[in-house]
Amino acid sequence: MALLTVKDLNVFYGNIHAIKGISFEVNEGEIVTLIGANGAGKTSTLHAISGLLRPKSGSITFDGNNLVTTEAHKILRLGLAQVPEGRRIFASLTVMENLELGAYIRAKENLDADFEQIFARLPRLKERRKQLAGTLSGGEQQMLAIGRALMSKPKMLLLDEPSMGLSPLLVGEIFDIIKSVNQGGVTVLLNEQNAKKALEIANRAYVLETGSIAMSGEASALAQDEKVRQAYLGG
């Protein structure tokens, strides 16, 4: 059964029709990736799901809940966490405080084990736990953003270009993290420009082009597709 279902989604910015009636679904336990060029509408789609944007029409159902009518701050409680594009970590808070905020909805629980788990995966964060997040380098901030989202123990994770601006080594690492998170039972919807990597770890993929879904299918099949190779995998 599909955990997340998006139907006929339309998003506007003023007069700009950014998302033009797309439909897709993500099944429990899957990694699904949205790939597409700059401005294709990947971020807009994720924002519509996580409630930061109100779609003009269409439906989004997560785990039986209608997300379109749910306020943004309640969506996380349903088990849907997002790592936003551009990281958006809390710059003047420390690394540790950022992680604590990730677990905001789990305030009453004991978090020590979770911190240890995050630090084990992202050791750089442990070194910098007292540093103000704003002074971290780009890659460090990206790790923090992922760590922060994981702190809420979500059922499903939305990741918006997690590899942007990361070193090849770290890109590999981040994708490893994503894979292991997924293996831990978290469903993943991944926005990526780095189509090659994304297709490697994903089960299925949708290709977005200027607000519409141009192609979809098994990730491995798309990776072989000539058009996809041409446009997104660099020949």
Partner: protein, 360 residues
């Protein structure tokens, strides 16, 4: 029937602090000895000479170290005044910290709080404690209402900061004129609110109002600091202040958080108002102007956004004011603003402000 609802507060004679002072017994007797000997006091702009002169004066008359006494008295005067600045500054700082808005209407919330205390006590005839609580609740509510009506749309629509500032100024003008219509523009007098004894430490005389101001402001500051740094809602406040969108992704109800901030800030203003009325028993619709401005300066001095900073800024401003009044009272405001400017130039983010340099 013209029974005065304030009757229960009324006291025969002078207020206790005054009485205690007169009991101290060491005060120089008016007349013979101490007079006409101190021409240096005739004009104030004598810099330190005046202070030292006074010290001589005290020394000779009372055999105590008068300069220390003067120094301490003026410092305590300053701390008392500064506590009120500090309380108001806390509200400025909090709201600024969360929504980056210089809430110019905050000074006027003090005015609203004062009028509420006056209204509940004198018109409705309720006891003081209810008046203070009522005023706090009313201000908290008013704060939230103002935020909802005047700021919310701008805050959520990513409007230019300056539009928010202008809106705040608009709210300030609105409140002043509304209260002018409701209560008239003339000054209203207030009875003594908290009738506590003064403290006499040797030569040092500390009025009850000063003690109360200092104690309450410190308690409020600690409470607020704990709230913001330690509690869940405090963390939510800080997260919202950084990036409301990301805060929502953490499951934080940012609307509630911002409303809560305004409620707390305005409630604090009501506490400030009660202390203010107790210390300077006179209110008018424009009273928030100068007070607000000074408190704002205090908030900036301490590092706007920082809670202990607001406190420190308030004290420094109060003490600086007290001391300049001692030496050159005509230029007080100029000197106070001068201090502010120098401090800002030396430490642009204020004394305790975090200097988060923009990462390039």
């Amino acid at each position: 029937m013209k029974s005065n609802p304030l009757e229960f507060r009324r006291k025969e004679g002078l207020k206790p602090s005054f009485r205690i002072f007169s009991y101290s017994g060491k005060r120089p007797k008016k007349g013979k000895s101490g007079k006409n000997n101190f021409p240096f006091l005739a004009r104030s702009p004598q810099g330190f000479a005046a202070g030292l002169g006074t010290s001589n004066h005290f020394f000779r008359l009372e055999g105590v170290c008068g300069f220390m006494n003067l120094f301490l008295t003026q410092t305590i005067n300053g701390l008392g005044l500064g506590s009120i600045y500090a309380l108001v500054a806390l509200g400025y700082s909090m709201v600024y910290g969360i929504v980056k808005l210089i809430n110019f209407a905050h000074g006027d919330i003090i005015m609203v709080g004062s009028y509420m205390v006056m209204f509940i006590m004198t018109v409705m005839g309720m006891p003081l404690i209810l008046a203070v609580i009522g005023s706090i609740l009313f201000c908290a509510l008013a704060g939230v209402l103002i935020q909802r009506v005047a700021y919310h749309r701008l805050l959520t629509h990513d409007a230019p900061r300056i539009s928010l500032l202008i809106t705040a100024l608009g709210v300030s003008i609105f409140l002043q004129n509304l209260f002018q219509l409701l209560f008239g523009s003339e000054v209203r007098s207030m009875p003594t609110l908290f009738d506590l004894p003064a403290i006499q430490l040797g030569e040092l005389h500390i009025t009850s109002a000063n003690i109360l101001n200092i104690v309450v402001s410190v308690v409020m500051m600690i409470g607020l600091q704990t709230l913001v740094a330690r509690t869940r809602i405090g963390k939510a406040m800080r997260a919202t202040s950084e990036d409301a969108g990301a805060a929502k992704l953490m499951g934080i109800n940012t609307n509630h958080t911002v409303a809560f901030t305004f409620a707390v800030g305005s409630g604090l203003a009501a506490v400030g108002a009660a202390l203010y009325c107790n210390t300077y028993p006179q209110i008018k619709p424009t009273m928030g102007n100068l007070l607000g401005l000074k408190a704002f300066v205090a908030a900036v001095l301490g590092g706007i956004g920082s809670i202990p900073g607001a406190m420190l800024g308030g004290y420094i401003l109060g003490v600086a004011e007290s001391w300049t009044k001692n030496f050159y009272s005509n230029l007080t405001d100029a000197i106070v603003f001068g201090i502010l400017i120098v401090m800002l130039l030396v430490k642009p983010s204020g004394l305790l402000g975090k200097n988060v340099k923009e990462k390039v």
